[in-house]
């Protein structure tokens, strides 16, 4: 197992898609369907990386990222926003909320793993990411 990734995503098909790609590439995937569940899950399983949808029930992705960043034991876990909110300023908003990276939906399965692993590598190198 290469690592454990938490996917916080409420859309059934998107979740299946991301999970399918990650599992096929040797990662263990945990899932959460809304923001609050995502935070609880992150505290419980201490993932190596979090993929975070922005439009989520109960608590949106920005709020999830901000909350996760207040938790010392999760401070170093890279959070990558995966969202179809591809408007100007969305990337900046995600980064300002504490995300390390941003992947725009529709995801491109040909480069998705590369995008995810880039964030994992930054973490392994002790880098802060961008």
């Amino acid at each position: 197992m290469k690592g454990r990734i938490l996917v916080i995503e409420d859309n059934e098909q998107n979740l299946y898609l991301v999970k399918f790609i990650l599992e096929n590439n040797g990662y263990e995937v945990c899932e959460a369907r809304d923001g609050r569940e995502g935070i609880e899950m992150a505290e419980k399983i201490k993932p190596d990386l979090i993929l975070l949808d922005i439009q989520l029930p109960v608590m949106d992705g920005y709020a999830v990222a901000r909350t996760l960043r207040t938790k010392p034991d999760l401070a170093k876990v890279p959070i990558v926003a995966v969202t179809s909110y591809a408007m100007a300023g969305d990337r900046e908003k995600a980064i300002a909320a504490g995300c390390n990276g941003y992947i725009e939906k529709p995801i491109n399965p040909d480069i998705f793993m590369q995008q995810v692993e880039q964030q994992l590598c930054l973490r392994a190198d002790g880098g802060e990411g961008k």
Partner: protein, 317 residues
């Protein structure tokens, strides 16, 4: 299956009808399932930016509901909402539209991609070919949606530009490389000639990339033989990016028409080369915002040269 396809087709048609109606800034037709559950049928919400279009739909209401009912083989509730241009141009509305349209595309592009990667199992040649068509069309649809949203945002004055210093040479090289597989497939020569003095640019990197991308994709689309040459030089504090092709060209009197959204010049052509004709109008509007210019020289059946100028605008230190 047949009916489902038809219903999707009709819904899409409605969407396009509403979307393409002149004077619309960012309308939408949205289909919703009623909360009572699937059996309750579909709810079709038609949002228009023109009161008379809303009235027209309402006048058709009964016949319209009936035909929707028939196509869906289920009761359908159709409702209409008039939104003025301001509300349609509301960034939140555009963001929601963008999100709503991209979510289903995420599934289409994503699952097609993993099937094509062979992650699910081996494909035969026919399956591969058909899935590649699905992928190409889905990417095309994604590009159209992005273009329509862009033009809406620009026309509503809601496009936010960012400024940063980036390497223009690297940006052009990257775009040229992106197009290499396509031009090789078409048997075209693709050359880049970037002057040594071309370096950093202080502008909106994403939008400059979009302009270059649009120019190259137009050149690649309208050139069936010969070459495409991308060059970049500096002149009077400006970068000049020139994309020259040996494609079908444009008649002199039609050059201005090229910059109008949704105008494809020749009906014969638009049959051969499908598209909305949005790319050049987006380029022109983006360049106006970035303080640049765009010009076209062309000779019918011989080729086209599009020249873009962007101020270097070095970051004040």
């Amino acid at each position: 299956m047949q009916e489902k396809r038809r219903s999707n087709g009709i819904l899409f048609l409605i969407f396009l009808l509403v979307l393409l109606f002149p004077g619309f800034s960012a309308p939408a037709a949205e289909r919703k399932t009623l909360p009572e559950g699937k059996d309750a049928g579909s709810h079709i919400l038609i949002i228009t930016s023109q009161p008379y279009v809303t009235k027209w739909f309402i006048s058709l209401d009964h016949a319209f509901s009936e035909s929707i009912h028939k196509v869906l083989s289920a009761p359908a509730k159709v409702s209409y909402e008039y939104m003025d241009g301001k509300k349609l141009a509301d960034p939140r509305f555009l963001a929601t539209m963008s999100h709503e349209l991209r979510t289903p595309l995420n599934s289409i592009i994503g699952f097609t991609g993993i099937l094509l990667q062979g992650l699910v199992g081996p494909l035969n040649d026919e399956q591969r070919k058909q899935l590649q068509w699905v992928r190409t069309s889905a990417n095309h649809l994604l590009a159209l949606i992005s273009d329509i949203l862009d033009i809406s945002k620009i026309e509503a004055g809601k496009l936010q530009l960012s400024r940063e210093t980036f390497d223009l040479r690297a940006a052009i090289d990257k775009i040229v490389q992106t197009f290499r597989p396509l031009t090789e497939k078409k048997g075209l020569r693709l050359e880049a000639a970037i002057a040594p003095e071309v370096g950093e640019l202080y502008s909106d990197a994403r939008r400059v990339e979009q302009i270059n991308l649009n120019l190259l994709s137009n050149a690649a689309k309208f050139t069936d033989a010969g070459s495409i040459t991308v060059s970049c030089t500096t002149e009077d504090g400006k970068y000049l990016i020139r994309v020259a092709d040996t494609g079908i060209g444009v008649k002199k009197d039609q050059i201005d028409e090229m910059f109008k959204p949704f105008r494809h010049i020749d009906t014969g052509l638009s049959r051969k080369y499908e598209g909305t004709g949005l790319r050049l109008s987006i380029c022109k509007k983006l360049l106006e915002l970035l303080g640049g210019e765009i010009g076209v020289e062309s000779e019918w059946q011989r080729g086209t040269i599009v020249t873009v100028s962007i101020p270097v605008e070095r970051r004040p230190t």
